[in-house]
């Protein structure tokens, strides 16, 4: 700022309204946001973290017990199953939805006929709730009357498809349902990414005689790195939250074999009246999310800074 401006400012400061009153309407209007940010998000998270160190049962009590809840949590076989499941669910969902979503987007990007129809079909499950998704797939995967029966009818009389009642496979039922619901969304994000690429790149690569698959692999995918990362973060933060889908599809069963962390928290908080344990589990979830989120936020932020300088 040129110095004469600064001088003017110094001379007239006393004429201005006190700082807090400037932009008063804006500040009042932003109060709900400030309240939600501070009380809702920061306050509630801190409260949960603090009370995860207590032995609270059905009601919060300030009886601090150090890391005891965490010890119990990590010893609990149900928690271990939940974590294993969320890992399997997460890896499978990420890999399949990214691969299939990208392939679908590439296919839709080939100037095909009925593009809108196809896109509508792939995306509609995303409008449905996890409860609806879970219930449909519960019916499709029904061991007695579902797809299994159809396959038996065509001649494979001894065909058994009981992944819903099999301890080892129930989680895959959840994965199948989850992919059906969410892959279209990944496709939509990828398609937007593909459409955002400078079309001259395609022309240049055609003039250079680079086959389409190589252009995708070596030029387009690297160019779409930000889209991939954003999609990854979105899917990942969704994975941690999965709750309704399990409730509707398997209710965590059979025998707790398809439990997930979000359900663990819910059950201990509202079903089993073991608040301290639930809060410890939720704190672990929060930590995990932050571990994913902070490097990403950092990358995004430093990236923006770079492009501003450049």
């Amino acid at each position: 700022m040129p110095s004469f401006f600064r001088q003017i400012e110094q001379k007239t400061w006393w004429k201005r309204r006190p700082k807090i009153l400037r932009n008063l309407s804006a500040k009042i209007a932003a109060l709900p946001m400030i309240a939600v940010a501070l009380v809702g998000f920061v306050g509630c998270s801190v409260w949960s973290i603090v009370y995860s160190f207590t032995s609270s049962k059905s009601l919060p009590k300030e009886r601090f017990v150090g890391f005891k809840q965490y010890d119990r949590l990590f010893d609990s076989s149900r928690w271990q199953t939940s974590v294993e499941n969320v890992a399997v669910y997460g890896i499978c969902s990420l890999v399949f939805s990214l691969v299939v979503g990208f392939l679908l987007a590439v296919a839709l990007d080939q100037k095909i006929r009925f593009e809108n129809t196809f896109r509508t079909i792939f995306l509609y499950p995303f409008a449905l709730s996890f409860i609806v998704t879970g219930l449909v797939w519960q019916w499709l995967l029904n061991a007695d009357f579902g797809v299994a029966q159809v396959i038996r009818d065509i001649g494979f009389t001894s065909f058994e498809l009981n992944i819903l009642s099999n301890r080892d496979y129930a989680i895959y039922a959840i994965i199948i349902a989850g992919l059906w619901q969410g892959t279209g969304f990944v496709m939509a994000l990828m398609l937007a990414g593909l459409r955002g690429i400078d079309q001259d790149i395609w022309k240049a690569s055609r003039v250079d005689g680079i086959p389409a698959w190589r252009t995708y692999l070596f030029i387009v995918i690297p160019m779409m790195k930000p889209v991939f990362i954003t999609t990854l973060v979105i899917i990942a933060s969704g994975i941690v939250k999965v709750f309704d889908l399990v409730v509707a599809l398997t209710a965590g069963g059979p025998g707790g074999s398809s439990e997930l962390p979000a359900k663990y928290v819910y059950d201990f908080m509202f079903g089993r009246a073991n608040l301290g344990q639930a809060l410890a589990a939720s704190t672990v979830m929060l930590t995990t999310v932050l571990i994913i989120l902070i490097p990403w936020a950092y990358l995004e932020f430093s990236h923006k800074k770079d492009s501003e300088n450049g």
């Binding site: 400078d198 001259d200 790149i201 022309k203 240049a204 690569s205 055609r206 003039v207 250079d208 005689g209 680079i210 086959p211 190589r214 070596f218 030029i219 690297p222 160019m223 450049g310």
Partner: protein, 361 residues
């Protein structure tokens, strides 16, 4: 032998006909500029030549081969884009060599072509950098390099300089001309900037609505525009147009408008003038000189200065001539003030006369 020949080329996007039975022939080693307003189909034509768009009708020949159905890579062309279209995550070197490697050229040959192109374009120090770390001018040089390494004799440029600032644009323009002199390739260059066209081209093709209006040398286009559109499009400030009629006074033609009568003894008619015909006379601002010129052929008229615009190198006067607007380009020493009454002279032989349908008379 012509290097590029286009015969009866048409192209439609759905029901919109963008190119209409267009013919063009480009000689070997020639620098052709396609010039026209935005949306007239220049890029479309260039993309057809490159094979990036499938034509609706017609044929394209490059180096005597019918390439109408050939893939871009097999046409013997290199192309440079307005947005540079560099592969962002590859180094400059990789950008230059990628196409060659995919084509399966031996390593040594790739290496040689890349270093030769880098030497010609003076981008050797940049070879290891990524495009993001280059300035606009450097990026454009790399983009040209990507066409160079293909070792082809036809280069296509789609507005390669329009993303650069004015100073760089001038510098690169000169470099492009030098490059053309050095390589002797055929170049087809699309632009909407007439200065670029006039300075670079051996011949300019002026396009409008998917048709070539005139194909001629820069001087030909400037001095003998074939129609009203070309006349108005080329030149800045634009040509002055005054409406009136042609009069035949005992074998002596005149242009007549209210309070105005210009003898056309030296004007070389190209069409068939008829007496009483409604026409427009076009006079370039730089062909008008202030004060009385007694040289043969010049006519002198009285004008009144309205607005004076000093432009640095010269000054543009907006004047009134018998109720019509007339801009005059004069030198910057001029001391004319608004409201002055002046005599202005010009030679009607250098004017252009257009019939009502826009064609030259």
């Amino acid at each position: 032998m012509s290097s590029v020949a286009i015969s009866d080329l048409s192209l439609s996007f759905g029901s919109v006909e963008v190119l209409k039975s267009l013919n063009l022939e480009v000689d070997e080693g020639e620098f052709i500029v396609l010039l026209g307003p935005s949306g007239c189909g220049k890029s479309t034509l260039l993309n057809c030549i490159a094979g990036l768009l499938d034509v609706t009708a017609g044929q394209i020949f490059i180096n005597g081969n019918n390439v109408t159905w050939d893939e871009p890579k097999d046409r013997g062309i290199g192309m440079v884009f307005q947005s540079y279209a560099l592969y962002p995550q590859m180094s400059v070197e990789k950008n230059l060599s990628f196409g060659l490697k995919v084509a399966g050229l031996p390593k040594a040959e790739v290496q040689e072509r890349v270093s030769k192109a880098a030497e010609i374009l003076q981008i050797e120090p940049l070879l290891k950098r990524k495009p993001a770390a280059l300035s606009g001018g450097q990026r454009q040089r790399v983009a040209i390099g990507r066409a160079l390494v293909r070792d082809v004799n036809v280069f296509l440029f789609d507005e390669p300089l329009s993303n650069l600032d004015a100073k760089l644009r001038t510098d690169l323009r000169v470099e492009l001309k030098r490059l053309h002199q050095r390589l002797g390739n055929t170049m087809i260059y699309v632009t909407h900037d007439q200065i670029e066209a006039l300075t670079l081209a051996d011949r300019i093709a002026i396009m409008k609505d998917g048709l070539i209006q005139q194909l001629d040398t820069p001087a030909g286009i400037y001095n003998n525009p074939t129609n009203r559109f070309v006349a108005g499009f080329i030149g800045s400030p634009g040509m002055n147009f005054i409406s009136g009629t042609l009069e035949d006074d005992a074998g002596q033609w005149f242009f007549a408008a209210p309070d105005l009568r210009i003898p056309l003894n030296d004007y070389a008619f190209t069409g068939n003038p008829t007496a009483g015909q409604q026409v427009e006379i076009g006079i370039r601002p730089e062909h008008v000189v202030l004060n009385d010129v007694s040289e043969a052929g010049f006519v002198t008229l009285q004008v009144e200065a309205d607005i004076v615009e000093p432009m640095g190198a010269d000054t543009v006067l907006w004047t009134k001539l018998a109720g019509n607007n007339l801009t005059i380009r004069t030198d910057s020493e001029s001391t004319v003030k608004s409201g002055d009454s002046l005599s202005a002279s010009f030679n009607p032989a250098r004017a252009s006369i257009f019939a009502q349908d826009g064609s030259r008379v």
